[in-house]
């Protein structure tokens, strides 16, 4: 991501920066929300010559986010992109305070702190993604490719991560069924790391999972992926990336369960600046799913038209992928997004996963 940090080149005209992004926590290279949406901002803004800049809140609290929005507005922002559900409450406030500013809230919908009132005003576009569908495709691909020992390392048990994970298991189940495998033929280790960071802890955990025989880990937690890739490189095993196409980060990444963060941001920005169709997003929640190509596995390799996006699979083919994708689009397959979880942390037990997701071919071990 060497697009020159001076996207934040100070304006000489004095108008400031028109499109602003507030990072939730972490930086815009977090391999996740911040990065994906920032890439969207940059792509659009550079193509259309709009000033743009990202801000880091002074503290990661509702009030801190609101203060950062204040700062961005002071800095001349007309459109503010806020990635992540952490912005739900601050945006609820901000949409009233700044009626003239447009907000793009990713992965969340504005509401009050006590959840009593949900309201998305006309200056807010709320965007959500069907992560379970993306995860489904990843799990399906892994098993179809011949793997039987799967791993999942989520960051924290937030809805998006959970949805990815649940979809992943269901995809594996489906593929195993199609392959006619016996019950319990697929084993999966399911784990939440408790953070979204690249740490030696996460690397060690991943190494341990690989050491136990696991062939591939779906690394679903921002920078956790860096640790998993490092462990995979040492263990000679594979990784499935998340959110954005991570094949460029490591040879070990066979595919990525992406969600169209960048595409969606670009799309909404275009509705404001070019197509004049803001009201198709304004005041409501828009879902990006397989049906509107908002999620999926990467099918092309950026910058290399001849390269095959599936070249790191052994068996899994584009045709198989397209079949699975189509079943999602037409609704013949509809992966479960949430299940009941007893644990306060949202850490599902193996039994909850098996029964909640109706697994039989896949046996789950939770770590």
């Amino acid at each position: 991501a060497k697009d020159g940090g001076n996207s934040g080149t100070p304006s000489t005209s004095g108008q400031g920066f028109e499109i602003a992004l507030i990072t939730d926590k972490g930086n815009i290279d977090d391999k996740s929300f911040n990065q994906g949406s920032w890439e969207g901002v940059v792509e659009f803004a550079e193509a259309n010559n709009v000033t743009h800049k990202y801000y880091k809140p002074e503290e990661a609290t509702d009030a801190g986010y609101l203060a950062a929005i204040d700062l961005a507005v002071t800095g001349g922002a007309k459109v503010i992109v806020t990635p992540g559900f952490l912005f739900e409450v601050p945006i609820f406030e901000a949409q009233t305070i700044y009626p003239d500013v447009k907000f793009i809230l990713l992965d969340g919908a504005p509401h009050t702190a006590d959840y009593a009132t949900f309201e998305t005003k006309d200056n807010v576009a709320s965007i959500m993604y069907a992560e379970e569908e993306s995860g489904y495709l990843a799990g399906y691909a892994a098993v179809m490719d011949g793997m039987t020992k799967l791993g999942f390392m989520g960051g924290m048990a937030v809805p998006a991560v959970q949805a990815f994970g649940y979809g992943y298991l269901q995809g594996a189940e489906k593929a195993a069924a199609e392959l006619g495998l016996a019950d319990g033929a697929i084993s999966a280790i399911y784990h939440y790391t408790g953070d979204f960071a690249e740490t030696d802890t996460n690397k060690a955990t991943a190494k341990t999972i690989y050491q136990g025989g696991t062939e591939v880990i779906f690394a679903c937690g921002g920078s956790v992926g860096k640790s998993v890739m490092s462990a995979a490189a040492e263990a000679g095993k594979k990784v499935i990336g998340v959110d954005v196409d991570q094949r460029y980060d490591s040879e070990t990444v066979i595919t990525s369960a992406t969600k169209g963060l960048r595409a969606s941001v670009v799309q909404v920005l275009e509705s404001i600046y070019k197509t004049n169709s803001w009201n198709t997003f304004a005041g409501q929640t828009t879902y990006f799913t397989a049906a509107n190509e908002g999620i999926g596995l990467p099918t092309t390799v950026i910058g290399d038209a001849n390269a095959k996006a599936f070249d790191r699979f052994e068996k899994f083919t584009m045709e198989q992928y397209e079949g699975a994708f189509k079943s999602l689009v037409d609704g013949t397959v509809d992966p479960i997004r949430t299940i009941d979880v007893e644990d306060a942390n949202g850490y599902a037990t193996a039994d909850e996963l098996v029964s909640g997701l109706k697994l039989s071919k896949v046996k789950v071990e939770v770590r």
Partner: protein, 409 residues
């Protein structure tokens, strides 16, 4: 035998003041701050020459636009600064303020969520709980040092990690406190939040006033009471304090306990701050990271020369330039510049006092040579100052490990 210095005429009041240790600490701090900003300006000029002047202006004066926030963000580091500075007075390097701070947060949160108390009492209970949490965590290095001779730096570092893991675990396993889908604690009930000062768009709250009062209280304890007398004596020379019948072990434990309590209060003040958004509050995110405010406390203490009153100003100053740094991002500068400025200031302030006198005596020497007359009267100013400094720079030999500290109010 008589020192010849005593022959020189009695210094005037002003002279006395300008030669006092407090004054040279002050000028030294000013000099380091100046150097820090020079450094900042250089970095900014390198990054983007056109805006460097405006950026620097923001760093220097931007904070004035957000005074309430300056005080709001100054509060926790003021408290951790006291936690470090107070222990320093006793010759103990409390690098564990981070863990104590985290513990303070946890205790405050626990009382905030789990106890149902009436308005007006609830937040007080939370604050006290936070203080106790920090106190307990501060006692540990004190006990290890006093009873087992384990150096407090090591214990503190270890218990920073242990405290962090422990708190994260305790919070995550408590369904009433933790909202997993948001990976952080729930919103605190309003009764547990500190009374706001009512400044618009700012979280500024009563804790800054409490913090300043506590700092003044510590100042009085240190300088006017027998306990403070014992504490400083021990800090300077623990053998002499034993000889004088002071209970060194008790004092070590007590000092670390008080220091911990300060950090714990800092944590409580931070986490109990009211939010500008109705129904919202501060939240704690258990992500296995050591609290940065604990380490910032070291900087604050050092800049404030471990003097509680100095620490007040140091905390406000650091908060001020941090706010300015955020504003400087409007000119495209990264707020991280502030971290560098602060580090540079501390680095220079570590030897600025000496630099002060070296410069002075250098000029004295030059001057003397030109005069070429034998100096019958030894140069008073520089020698006095350097004597003073020497005496300050000579730490009492600590038999065991490391950290020598000194300093005088």
């Amino acid at each position: 035998m008589q020192d010849k210095t005593s022959l020189t005429s009695k210094p005037s009041l002003i002279n006395k003041f300008t030669h006092s240790k407090g004054f040279s600490a002050f000028t030294a701090a000013l000099m380091s701050i100046f150097l820090g900003f020079v450094f900042a300006f250089l970095i900014m000029a390198l990054a983007s020459p056109d805006n460097a002047a405006s950026g620097l202006k923001m760093l220097l004066f931007g904070g004035f636009k957000r005074l309430a926030d300056v005080f709001y963000f100054a509060t926790p580091i003021l408290m951790t600064g006291l936690a470090v500075g107070f222990a320093f007075k006793m010759g103990l390097f409390n690098i564990g303020a981070a863990g104590q701070y985290t513990m303070g947060m946890f205790f405050a949160l626990y009382v905030g969520f789990m106890w149902d108390l009436p308005d007006g009492i609830h937040w007080v209970a939370c604050v006290i709980a936070g203080m106790i949490g920090g106190l307990l965590w501060g006692l540990i290095p004190g006990l290890f040092k006093a009873l087992l001779n384990v150096h407090e730096v090591i214990t503190s570092i270890m218990f920073n990690y242990i405290g962090m893991y422990l708190v994260d675990m305790l919070i995550q396993s408590n369904a009433a406190m933790y909202v997993s889908s948001k990976t952080r604690t729930a919103y605190l009930p309003a009764s547990a939040q500190l009374p706001s000062l009512g400044i618009e768009r700012s979280n500024a709250n009563i804790s800054i006033i409490l913090a300043v009062l506590i700092a003044v209280l510590l100042y009085i304890i240190l300088n006017k009471t027998t306990f403070g007398y014992e504490l400083r004596a021990t800090g300077f020379n623990k053998f002499a304090s034993t000889y004088a019948g002071m209970n060194g072990k008790r004092n070590i434990i007590l000092t670390m306990g008080i220091a911990g309590a300060m950090a714990g209060l800092g944590g409580a003040f931070a986490i109990l701050a009211p939010s500008t958004i109705q129904g919202s509050s501060m939240t704690y995110e258990p992500i296995n990271v050591i609290a940065a405010n604990g380490f910032n406390g070291i900087a604050v203490a050092l800049l404030g020369s471990n003097n509680p009153l100095g620490i007040i100003f140091a905390a406000v100053f650091i908060s001020h330039i941090q706010r300015g740094g955020t504003l400087a991002s409007l000119y495209g500068y990264k707020p991280e510049i502030i971290d560098i400025v602060i580090a540079v200031i501390i680095y220079f302030s570590a030897f600025a006092m000496l630099m002060n006198t070296t410069v002075v005596s250098f000029f004295k020497k030059l001057f003397k040579k030109n005069q070429s007359s034998p100096s019958t009267e030894p140069s008073t100013t520089s020698s006095e100052a350097s004597k003073e400094l020497l005496s300050e720079k000579i730490p009492s030999k600590d038999q065991e490990i490391s950290t020598s500290t000194k300093e005088e109010a």
